[in-house]
């Protein structure tokens, strides 16, 4: 730094009273179909529902995507439906915790060494009477919906820190993680929400963003609701997966640069607590 610029900075410091940080964030006029231009994004559980919808939106916004799922058949069908050179697929069971590190490396390889963002969406939903949950129900739900996402986040953040990438992590959580709950599904999402806030707080300084969407009831395979059928249940509107995907896209894009550590409920205020 030349003497002149040092003096200039000192003068500015004296005038404005604080050090000048040259950090410029541009969000004005982001073109919708270039919103994610050049971004390489992993979407776990992209074979149907919200994940598949997110993958389509990413491609439409100029990004590249890798979708995951447990079976090659379902991945092939999804690839056919998405029908784009910018979409790849890899079999990756997120509940297989010990395989996550190596699978993550496969994903980065498939993206030619660069990964900008991850959407942790893979999830299962099994609702029973509280007294009927078995240990197997419990661990399967926790492993898929939370523990897998935890270790994927760990591998991803390590990679971002090592490579100085301003990463972006979006969780597909649930409104059930915002309200009181006794079911393993809800509890797994509670933990996800806490995790999102904790990660954002810890790695915000490294320019890593972590947010979540918390959808209400959404018409997907998870609850066997047909998005083209009746979308009204128990005095509530049922969401379409594209609506949720639209919010995920916003969180993935630079348009939400100032949003970090947020759980964005996508449920028409259902979980807003008005009782106290």
């Amino acid at each position: 730094m030349s003497l002149k610029s040092v003096l200039k900075r000192c003068a500015k410091f004296l005038v404005y009273g604080q050090p000048v940080v040259n950090k410029y964030v541009s969000v004005a006029h982001i073109d919708d179909n270039k919103l994610l231009a050049g971004k390489k994004i992993l979407v776990t559980g992209g074979t149907s529902g919200i994940g598949l919808s997110v993958a389509k939106k990413i491609i439409a916004a100029g990004g590249e995507v890798i979708i995951t799922g447990r079976s090659q058949d379902k991945l092939n069908n999804a690839l056919k439906e998405i029908d784009s050179n910018n979409c790849k697929a890899i079999v990756f069971d997120i509940a297989n915790i010990t395989s996550i590190k190596s699978k993550f490396l496969d994903v980065v390889d498939l993206f030619d060494g660069k990964l900008d963002a991850v959407v942790s969406n893979a999830g299962i939903y099994k609702q029973k009477n509280f007294f009927d949950y078995t240990l197997d129900d419990y661990t399967r739900t926790m492993d898929t919906n939370f523990t897998g996402a935890f270790f994927l986040a760990q591998a991803t953040i390590k990679y971002w820190l090592d490579n100085h990438i301003d990463g972006n992590l979006v969780f597909v959580s649930s409104e059930r993680g915002i309200m009181s709950d006794v079911h393993p599904y809800g509890l797994s999402k509670v933990v996800c929400n806490s995790f999102v806030e904790g990660l954002a707080k810890q790695y915000g300084v490294n320019d890593i963003r972590v947010n979540a969407v918390a959808p209400g009831i959404t018409a997907t395979n998870i609850n066997n609701i047909n998005p083209d059928g009746n979308l009204w249940f128990d005095k509530r509107r049922i969401m379409r997966p594209e609506e949720i995907a639209e919010v995920v896209k916003f969180l993935l894009s630079d348009a939400s640069k100032c949003v970090n550590g947020q759980i964005v409920a996508c449920n028409e205020a259902y979980s807003v607590n008005m009782d106290c």
């Binding site: 240990l135 419990y138 935890f150 760990q154 933990v191 806490s194 810890q202």
Partner: protein, 245 residues
């Protein structure tokens, strides 16, 4: 207080085993046990190793062995008769950095801190319901479970907090009272392990000091007594103001 049988899971410190002997097991579970004994309750402590607390019965039971919960629960009821209250104060704390947390560590912390609580609550509520007992459940959570965190301990406690709230709401109509306590930094063996990792300075606590296990026990006695019957799903924060913004 009338004589009540209480199943109390003694706090278990796993990470550094010999620390268990440090101070002779001064955990929150022990403080609650002593307080309840002094109120005339009968207490059965379930823990992984033997603890001599005068007046309390001690059963060896590793709650992180989830598969054995039902059998152990039934055996205890067979052996000692009706149980009126269950206190889940088992818990372990680990100190790895986020990037170093291993799947094994995660599994152990979650098994002990939430999975066991979930299934013990499941059996206890079923038992209370089937036998028309107006029982109490008290889950010792943590203020770490009330805020965002990326460590296994706080994450497992977040689930425990929400389970307590959900169950409190779901069971109150059956006369079953489920509440919790969220202690802040409390001077027990668990925190002494933390000292080694510079984790437990009283610095930053508005009251200027950590909680004592006895102070947590005071709150526990209130929530377990009939004075607290209209409180359900409450996770009472006892932390000297530490978690206030």
């Amino acid at each position: 207080m009338k004589s009540l049988k209480i199943l109390c899971h003694e706090k278990i410190c796993l990470k550094i085993k010999e620390q268990l002997f440090f101070g002779g097991g001064t955990g929150i579970g022990k403080a609650i046990t002593n307080k309840l004994l002094s109120h005339g309750s009968e207490v059965i402590i379930c823990s992984r190793s033997k603890h001599e607390i005068e007046g309390a019965i001690n059963e060896i039971w590793d709650v992180s062995d989830i598969g054995s919960i039902q059998e152990n629960f039934n055996n205890i009821i067979k052996k000692y008769g009706q149980i009126d209250m269950v206190v889940n104060s088992q818990g372990i704390l680990t100190h790895s950095d986020f990037l170093d947390v291993s799947p094994e560590e995660m599994e152990l912390v979650f098994k002990t801190n939430i999975e066991s609580v979930f299934f013990i609550c499941q059996y206890a509520v079923r038992y209370f319901k089937n036998n028309s007992i107006y029982g109490h459940i008290l889950n010792i959570c943590s203020t770490e479970g009330l805020k965002g965190t990326c460590y296994p301990y706080g994450l497992s406690k977040a689930a425990a907090v929400r389970l307590t709230q959900g169950l409190g709401k779901a069971t109150v109509r059956d006369g079953i009272i489920v509440n919790g306590i969220a202690p802040g930094a409390t001077a027990t063996d668990m925190m002494r392990q933390g000292d080694k990792h510079n984790w437990a300075p009283a610095y930053g606590i508005p009251s200027g000091r950590m909680c004592t296990a006895n102070e947590i026990a005071n709150a526990a006695v209130f929530l377990l007594s009939d004075a607290g019957r209209q409180m359900c799903g409450e996770v009472m924060v006892v932390d000297g103001g530490e978690s206030l913004h």
